[in-house]
């Protein structure tokens, strides 16, 4: 079964996710998939401290996330998965987990990144990773908050 929301957001756990999406979707679980954060106790604690009491959060590296999502998540219909870049989605696909729908919710300005939407700035590698995901059957749409307009990434990349 597909998770409730699979989101690319370079800010990982923050207000838009735990106050915006999680409240709107009435989510119960958040999985933060990131090798760097998973390998750093201090950063893990920092992100976990941002999670409201009503949400159960776990932080896992890419391999563990892929295994966990493939082996049956507890209440997938109440679970949000967060990754910080399209590269992580690509890595998950390569390690055996392919999400059907991906929400691109925030990739902010950085050097050599082109603006596609006010909250979507992509570099060359990001675009290549997104194209890889699309070729592998992943449907990707941009939407920052629950009541904003959805944009199909394929339409934006064609510009």
């Amino acid at each position: 079964m597909e998770v409730q929301l699979f989101r690319i957001d370079d800010r990982l756990i923050h207000g838009q996710v735990v106050l915006g999406w999680a409240k709107y979707l009435k989510s119960k679980h958040v999985i933060l998939c990131d090798n760097e954060v998973a390998g750093n106790d201090w950063e893990s604690e920092l992100y976990l401290s941002c999670v409201p009491d009503e949400l159960n959060a776990r932080i896992m590296n890419t391999n563990d996330t892929s295994r966990y999502l493939n082996n049956g998540v507890v209440e997938p219909e109440k679970t949000i998965v967060l990754v910080k870049s399209p590269q992580i989605v690509r890595e998950l696909i390569e390690t055996g987990y392919r999400p059907r729908n991906v929400n691109l919710g925030g990739m902010h300005y950085g050097k050599n990144r082109k603006k596609y939407l006010p909250y979507v700035f992509l570099g060359k590698n990001d675009v290549e990773d997104l194209q890889f995901c699309i070729k592998n059957g992943v449907s990707i749409y941009c939407q920052d908050v629950p009541n904003s307009r959805k944009h199909k990434i394929s339409n934006l990349l064609a510009l």
């Binding site: 370079d10 923050h14 207000g15 992100y47 990739m107 902010h108 300005y109 950085g110 990144r113 006010p118």
Partner: protein
């Protein structure tokens, strides 16, 4: 009298700039204050901007105000604090808090300044219940 601390206000959308404009409207021009929005820049870009300012004036006390505890501005400030533990981080920034801070920032020692600022921010919140 101490030097004015290096002061950051980091918040969503135009909140930091507007809050600081309100401070200057009430107290007049302030020094060493930088406002940031998380609207466009990625967190590494914002971090680099703030770290550059800290490293330019290493002798100064640094105080960073953020709006929402647990939000990306707060996470960013905590990450900088880990590298520069001398930087104080205060979340829940509001106008009474900033007014108190700028009124005392050159007079109080760092620890007392942060305590008073935080307390005065809380004291500025008073509810008068509407009749039901």
């Amino acid at each position: 009298m101490n030097s004015t601390p290096l002061t950051f206000i980091v918040a969503h959308e135009d909140l930091a700039r507007s809050l600081f404009a309100a401070v200057e409207c009430i107290l007049g021009k302030q020094q060493n204050v930088y406002t940031f929005t998380n609207k466009i820049d990625s967190l590494p870009v914002l971090t680099a901007k703030m770290v550059t300012l800290i490293e330019k004036q290493p002798e100064l006390q640094v105080v960073c105000f953020t709006d929402l505890m647990g939000g990306s501005c707060w996470t960013l400030a905590n990450m900088i604090h880990q590298k520069y533990p001398g930087m104080a981080v205060i979340s829940g920034v509001n106008l009474p808090m900033l007014i108190s801070y700028f009124n005392n920032c050159t007079d109080l020692p760092p620890v007392q300044l942060v305590e008073k600022t935080t307390n005065d921010g809380g004291r500025g919140i008073i509810a008068i219940q509407g009749s039901v």
